[in-house]
Symmetry: none
Subunit: 133 residues, 4 copies
């Protein structure tokens, strides 16, 4: 089971709407069950550096089937996953990446958002997830 393009575009649209609502400019990436980019949108004027970060957040969330921020809490100095960011061509482990599940609870993809504070990034990512549940 993997997210469809149609579902991915629903998530992107909802995330964009939330980004507009809270007055931010976001990069929004959706990956499928294979962690491959499925849909992407960069809002006009969004940070250039967030393009890559949004995609890495989405991949990171699917690579380990958990929100990126959870991984980040384990990758700190002294933590059990210290510097895991060096793997897979670069991970991003602060909030803004969230797995997307189907009704049966299976992970079918993930969303990654970057362009503002990590709190805002995560809020916009959650809006994308919620649009599919």
């Amino acid at each position: 089971m993997s997210i469809t393009l149609e579902q991915a575009e629903v998530a992107v649209k909802a995330a964009k709407a939330k980004a507009v609502e809270i007055g931010t400019l976001m990069n929004i990436a959706i990956v499928d069950a294979g962690a491959n980019l499925t849909a992407f949108a960069r809002m006009d004027g969004a940070w250039l550096g967030s393009l890559d970060i949004s995609q890495k957040k989405a991949k990171t969330a699917r690579f380990f089937d958990m929100p990126t921020g959870v991984i980040g809490s384990l990758s700190q100095p002294g933590g059990s996953l210290y510097n895991i960011e060096h793997s897979n061509g670069g991970l991003i482990t602060f909030p803004g990446g969230i797995p997307i599940k189907n009704a049966a609870g299976e992970v079918i993809g993930a969303i990654g958002v970057s362009g503002s504070s990590v709190e805002n990034d995560n809020t916009v990512a959650q809006a994308g997830v919620d649009a599919l549940s």
Copy 2:
């Protein structure tokens, strides 16, 4: 002048419609004037390897402001641009990447399509370009 996300999404939608019309499964990428990814869609079941190719085609078309196939005709053995593909982290120089211009003729971005024959790829890319003219 750079393509907007709204324009990019119009191009993606038109390209998808053309892909459906001709019975293909495509990866469709739009980059802006800075060759940065602006919108992307991968149709369900499209070749995984075409994800990267579609993005490289779009970038290549903007890097040199010409259709990718034109560059490919110059990069053949004995050609003046032989093996230019080794630059810029990897170029794709067969058809399927086309610059997008505004009414004044300025390049504002590019589209890259991959997932079928290069003829089909180019047809779908052209449909994306046409939707904005």
Copy 3:
């Protein structure tokens, strides 16, 4: 709006003059609004390792439209952007990268300087910025 080569060369010249004034050997990089290298100078005898750092500082400052040191204050262990340096092919987040703005306050590029202490790097970068304001 993007910095011109003429402006970039004014910034490089001013930064070099400041580097000489304070007795340091610097690598000085200017990127445009698209974060693409526009002008660069490496002073004779400057650290080889600083060549890449100066360019990454300039790109980082433009990627997020803020001085690199600000990002570095957020990317520390426990910080909200911990290990953001793994994105975008490698960021440098200590001081020495500063956005360049036009009279209207728009970011038109950035300067990155590396070759001495981060305090000296930042002083030289600021001299480049000041030469354009």
Copy 4:
């Protein structure tokens, strides 16, 4: 013996003047005896994809102390250096990269130019070389 920044800037200036004279927009890179970037200028509006190519041409010319086009004649299918472009993070082996020598005939660096036809690229590169002899 290595090219100085002062010499490199003389070469860049002469190359720019030649580019203007023949009506082209060039990326111009100078590397030193260690094949490290020493000076760089991208003329306003020059192809984005030529930024990397100009630097790779300069490095390639210094890596093997010969004009890039000579290497390209050996890297063709069946040639003795077939696909040498895969080394060193990517070489560019068509014309536009030329070693820079001192009065004693020692290679002290190289220039790489990209932004037009390979003939024009080479003409502009030669102008940079000539300015130092």
